[in-house]
Amino acid sequence: MELDYILLLSALLFVIGLFVVITRKNAIMVLIGIELMLNAANLNLIAFSSYDGSLQGQIFSIFLITVAAAEAAVGLAIVVKVYNYFRTADLDKINELKG
């Protein structure tokens, strides 16, 4: 597999993730989009690391996956709390603070 194709794939994933974050209203869909973007960065790192002898990219990936997990956990906790208060997970309707 050529490096350029993999980079294009990750660019595609990144852009799709960004699209999902911008256009979706449901909070969990937005989180899904963010995970897509993070995976795109991961793919880049692993692809570059296959050319590098020192496995740095892979280590960065492991840390990245871990941090993404922690962030998702805290994010979902907040989403659940917001749902308890607002009875909806729709970002448009959650708008008490002044703009």
Binding site: I16, F19, T23, A72, A73, I78
Partner: protein, 164 residues
């Protein structure tokens, strides 16, 4: 690779959140396969364990917990589609140009071509010697995230005390 791209596009277009989560799982799995091809077995296994086995389950739980209305399908529509398409399309074109201009494969530091032998032992050593401080910081991060998540989502215990 085509599978990864295809399932990502599916996420983009589907209305149903649960289908989107499942498509995300397909994306993760296909990425893990790509990782194995690139010589990163440890990362691939971690990806499956953490992402599919952890984060995805959390997401599905989140979907379940935030839609107690009892309707059969959980929908999430897209809005501002045109704006989104324009922005993402433009970004993709910019990235495409960037990739081709950079010509990554011909860079100086790429002297060694792929070395795909299993290297988990070496990986562990590097993790524990070169990057040990990062390892410790991650431990701290996970502790803080744990405290935060549990405290945010759970019932405040002080309320129980004051109530009695």
């Amino acid at each position: 690779m085509v599978l990864a791209a295809g399932s990502a596009v599916f996420i983009m277009f589907t209305k149903n959140i649960l289908y989107a989560a499942l498509a995300l799982m397909v994306t993760f799995l296909s990425l893990a396969v790509i990782f194995i091809f690139l010589g990163a077995e440890f990362v691939a296994i971690t990806q499956i364990l953490v992402y599919v086995g952890g984060i995805l389950i959390l997401l599905v739980f989140g979907i379940m917990l935030t839609n107690k209305t009892g309707s059969t399908q959980v929908l999430s529509l897209t809005y501002n589609k045109v704006l989104g398409f324009l922005a993402s399309g433009a970004l993709f074109i910019i990235l495409f140009k960037g990739i081709t201009l950079a010509n990554f494969a011909a860079l100086d530091w790429n002297k060694e071509s792929e070395s795909l032998e299993p290297s988990i032992a070496k990986f562990g050593q590097i993790l524990m010697t070169d990057y040990v401080i990062a390892f410790e910081i991650i431990g701290l991060l996970l502790l803080l995230a744990l405290i935060g998540a549990v405290r945010i989502a759970g019932k405040a215990r002080k309320e129980a005390d004051h109530g009695t």
